[in-house]
């Protein structure tokens, strides 16, 4: 009954935004039970967690740095999701972006710093964009499920990374010493991300990420391209009928989504303390699962680029605080992973509730209809007068 839904008392919009917050609280509550079962004091644990994430300047910086790749990926996710494409390939796109950016930094060591940084960041964008465009095109033109293709491209990307970092891109010093650690040489200093406060650890990465989120917001709600992306996402049939090139728009959305992840990868390399790209053989070793956690941050932020900013920061805090919690109450690190997993499951599952809350539109003024539209839905296709 459309009308039954429509006329239920409307709630303020922000209630819907509280749902993921509630989901986090519930996940933490279950985490508290797990902590108690392990003989640890959950209050003490969570206090350490909060303190470790937001308790000091250093903690906040750590959290911001941790949140940065989440925010890039999350923003990319919002773009893809608006086109109704589910991009699970953030991990692979991060790796692809990082690889191309690193390769360029290695290949052009003599570029002046002013040119270097923009060039390599752009390379990151291009690498990730390419890695996103492929599944986008496969979906648009060959109807290949994007969830499968993006996950598979994650696997391809990690193998490519292992090959390149063990072979063509490996630090010559490693070969000389015979240690053969799969990592590149220290990249040119011109490619280091500038630090925000002269010294310390906070580089401009978080700032770029926030700018990217704002840019994505403008793109989606202020430009014709974003309008097309949203139209295609909500109704490909109506979009096609209105003359919008649906397939091309899907590919573009995935390309932009991948570009964001690629930028995350590049920022991860050039903002790292070692200033080189290293692999431990797995994607997680490089990305820290940001390609997946970014999806959660985006869902947490209601698939809205601006809301994804605080959501990423909070989720980054959860990751940083988890380590503090583990140290404080001496629980196995697996518990922290379980805790993060719980948060992911709860937030993703709560999305359904949130949608239900959002789908109750504000009460429509009586003038909106020529009479009750109760049967307009039931009587779909009824004859005219």
């Amino acid at each position: 009954m459309a009308q039954a839904e429509t006329n239920r008392r409307s709630r303020p919009k922000f209630v819907a935004y509280l749902v993921p917050l509630g989901a986090v609280v519930l996940a933490l509550a279950i985490g508290a039970i797990m902590l108690s079962l392990l003989g640890a004091n959950p209050v003490e644990g969570f206090r350490a967690m909060l303190d470790g994430a937001f308790g000091s300047g250093d903690a906040l910086i750590e959290t911001a740095l941790k949140a940065t790749p989440l925010l890039f990926v999350g923003v990319g996710i919002t773009i893809a999701f608006r086109a109704n494409v589910i991009n699970i390939g953030g991990e692979g796109q991060m790796v692809a972006g990082a690889l191309l950016a690193t390769a360029l930094a290695l290949a052009l060591p003599d570029l002046p710093a002013v040119v270097m940084l923009p060039t390599v960041l752009l390379a990151g964008i291009v690498g990730g964009a390419a890695w996103g465009a492929v599944p986008g095109a496969l979906k648009a033109y060959y109807n290949v499920n994007e969830i499968l293709s993006t996950i598979m491209l994650n696997v391809v990307a990690v193998q490519l990374m292992n090959f390149l970092l063990r072979g063509p891109m490996i630090d010559p010093g490693e070969l000389e010493r015979g240690t053969r650690i799969p990592q590149t040489a220290r990249l040119q200093e011109g490619a280091d991300l500038p630090l925000l406060f002269g010294n310390g650890r906070l580089h401009i990465g978080p700032l770029i990420a926030v700018l990217a989120a704002v840019a994505a917001y403008i793109l989606l709600w202020r430009t014709p391209l974003g309008f097309r992306v949203r139209a295609v996402g909500l109704s490909p049939d109506a979009a096609r009928y209105a003359g919008i090139p649906v397939k091309r728009t899907i590919v573009l959305a995935m390309t932009m989504s991948g570009a964001m992840s690629g930028l995350a990868g590049a920022v991860l390399v050039f903002g790292s303390e070692s200033h080189r790209m290293v692999t431990d053989g797995s994607t997680v070793g490089f990305t820290g699962s940001a390609g997946f956690n970014g999806i959660v941050a985006a869902l947490f932020g209601g698939l809205h680029p601006i809301w994804t900013i605080p959501a990423s920061f909070m989720f980054g805090g959860l990751l940083v605080g988890g380590i503090a919690l583990q140290r404080a109450v001496q629980v196995p690190s697996a518990l922290i992973m379980a805790l993060n997993g719980l948060v992911v499951v709860f937030v993703v599952a709560s999305d359904r509730w949130k949608k239900r809350l959002q789908e109750q539109p504000a009460r429509v003024d009586d003038t909106a209809t020529d009479g009750p539209v109760l049967e307009a839905v039931v009587d779909d296709g009824g004859g005219g007068p």
């Binding site: 009954m1 459309a2 009308q3 039954a4 429509t6 006329n7 239920r8 403008i218 202020r222 430009t223 014709p224 309008f227 097309r228 949203r230 139209a231 909500l234 109704s235 049939d237 109506a238 979009a239 096609r240 009928y241 209105a242 003359g243 919008i244 090139p245 539109p361 009460r363 429509v364 003024d365 003038t367 909106a368 209809t369 020529d370 009479g371 009750p372 539209v373 109760l374 049967e375 307009a376 039931v378 009587d379 779909d380 296709g381 009824g382 004859g383 005219g384 007068p385």
Partner: protein, 500 residues
């Protein structure tokens, strides 16, 4: 035999039925008339046990009954023929009829006995049907007969017919009415639900009109006219046919030559179709649904591949061009699926209006959408086309069907198109909105747009067209001038009989 007394049904925020009294006598056809949302379906769903009334009582043959489910309803000999058939396509007629009934032979089916009884019923009511035929092979009219037989087999004394004529040709309608009359002669009571006023007048004994959940009139068929019924339905005088000032017919604006198009199932939906529509005329396309109308319209709009033939709009070849390109050449298209492809439910009115020209320079400022210009444009169209909406930022899904249709029409006509293809422009729309849409179509005709109006509603085709073309199995089987056309002639063509 039936008496519903003081039925009230509330849905949150809506009074769907308000103290409705409704009776049916044995041997009569009592019609329930009203617009979408007037509460007809709710009342019938209460009778059939799909809803429970909040207040009121139901009496059958003077006895008070509680109907909690369709099973109860069937046990009380109430049958319902739904608008959308409830048949299992892969089973035979006999199997469909027997479905859900206990067999005389325990766990084994007893289809021979069922078939015999079907043939007996079919013979008595003129419902020619083969009990062994598999349902998917049957035509729409035949499937409806199966539904009726299903109800008769269960010995329904009171039959609810929910828009049974929507899918039939005029001849099939006549045949159905004969059958229905035979059923009332046997003392059964029928409840007939329809929008089509001339059918209501042809079949009914009594007519009850509902508006916004309340009865606004209960009259015998004698003395009722289409105008008087429309007045009760809408609450004001309605012009059922718009005034059509003469317009000079211009050049050919839409020219279709030998067009062939595939349907969704890879079948040939349109086969070598030829048609011309001139500037300043409304060409009505009549035909039973599923004869290639949708595929033809989609091919014209560039939404479906033409496998052969050519389409020219304003003299320019547009066959298999992109939808955007076809639009650029002056085509506007009002689809039959309002919220499927005509508009985006979750987009606001303003965004829906912007849909076809969001790249237009008028609505852009330094590459960004110019919301001030967009707002002005939307407000102007909403105002000009009398779209009732609280604001232009309201999501389209919160509007009534008629207002969504007006919004789509406003958008499509805003560029003064060379050719307008309007598919089922008023289906499921309330009378007031339909009246308005008809008026706008006639206005557009005066502005020299060539209009192709595809409709399954013959009243609409007759009210608006200058010429009427009948589509049958993907071809135009005949074109007649509105002035000389008769319903019988069109009906025969709809059934595939070629004119002399």
């Amino acid at each position: 035999m039936l008496e519903m007394r003081g039925i009230t049904k509330r849905f949150p925020g809506v009074l769907a039925n308000h103290r409705v009294d409704f009776t049916v006598n044995a041997g009569e056809v009592h019609t329930l008339l009203g617009e979408n949302g007037a509460g007809k379906s709710t009342l019938m769903k209460i009778l059939y046990g799909l809803y429970q009334a909040d207040e009121g009582e139901i009496f059958l043959s003077g006895e008070r009954v509680e109907i909690h489910s369709p099973t109860d309803a069937i046990a009380h000999n109430i049958g319902m023929i739904h608008q959308h058939f409830m048949l299992v396509e892969t089973l035979t007629v006999a199997e469909n009829v027997a479905l859900g009934l206990p067999s005389n032979r325990g766990l084994r089916t007893d289809l021979d006995a069922v078939s015999e009884r079907i043939e007996e019923l079919a013979g008595r009511y003129g419902l020619a049907i083969d009990p062994g035929a598999v349902v998917w092979q049957l035509a729409v009219g035949q499937r409806q007969r199966v539904e009726i037989i299903k109800a008769l087999y269960r010995d329904a004394q009171l039959l609810i017919l929910d828009e049974p004529t929507a899918v039939l040709t005029p001849q099939e309608v006549d045949q159905l009415f004969v059958t229905l009359r035979q059923m009332t002669d046997d003392g059964r009571g029928l409840i007939f639900i329809s929008h089509k006023l001339h059918e209501v007048l042809a079949l009914s004994d009594r007519i009850t009109v509902l508006r916004q959940g309340t009865i606004t009139g209960q009259v015998p068929v004698e003395g009722a006219t289409r105008e008087s019924l429309a007045l009760m339905m809408v609450g004001r005088q309605v012009k059922l046919a718009p005034d059509k000032p003469p317009v000079e017919i211009g050049e050919v604006a839409l020219e279709i030559r030998g067009l062939s198009v595939m349907g969704d199932r890879g079948d040939k939906a349109v086969r070598g179709l030829n048609l011309e529509v001139h500037a300043g005329e409304i060409l009505g396309i009549a035909g039973v649904s599923g004869n290639g109308q949708r595929e033809m319209a989609q091919a014209i709009a560039g939404l479906r591949q033409a496998t052969a033939g050519s389409i020219r709009i304003g003299g320019v070849e547009t066959t298999n061009h992109t939808p955007a390109d076809v639009r650029k050449n002056g085509l506007a298209y009002v689809t039959e699926g309002r919220l499927r492809d005509g508009a985006i439910a979750d987009f606001s009115v303003s965004e829906n209006i912007l849909l076809i020209d969001h790249t237009d320079k008028r609505y852009l400022k330094r590459g960004l959408l110019d919301f001030k210009a967009i707002k002005e444009h939307s407000l102007r169209l909403v105002d000009e086309y009398a779209v009732k909406t609280p604001t232009i930022d309201t999501p389209a899904k919160n509007l009534s069907g008629g207002n969504i249709q007006k919004m789509i029409l406003a958008r499509e006509m805003s560029g003064t198109p060379t050719v307008l293809v309007a598919s089922q422009p008023t289906r499921g729309v309330d009378i007031g909105a339909a009246e308005y849409i008809h008026k706008r179509l006639v206005q557009q005709r005066a502005e020299n747009t060539a209009i192709m109006m595809i409709s399954e509603d013959l009243d609409e085709v007759f009210a608006l067209s200058d010429r009427i073309a009948v589509i049958y199995e993907g071809q135009i089987i005949g074109i007649v001038d509105r002035q000389t056309a008769t319903r019988e002639q069109i009906g025969l063509m709809m059934a595939g009989v070629r004119p002399e």
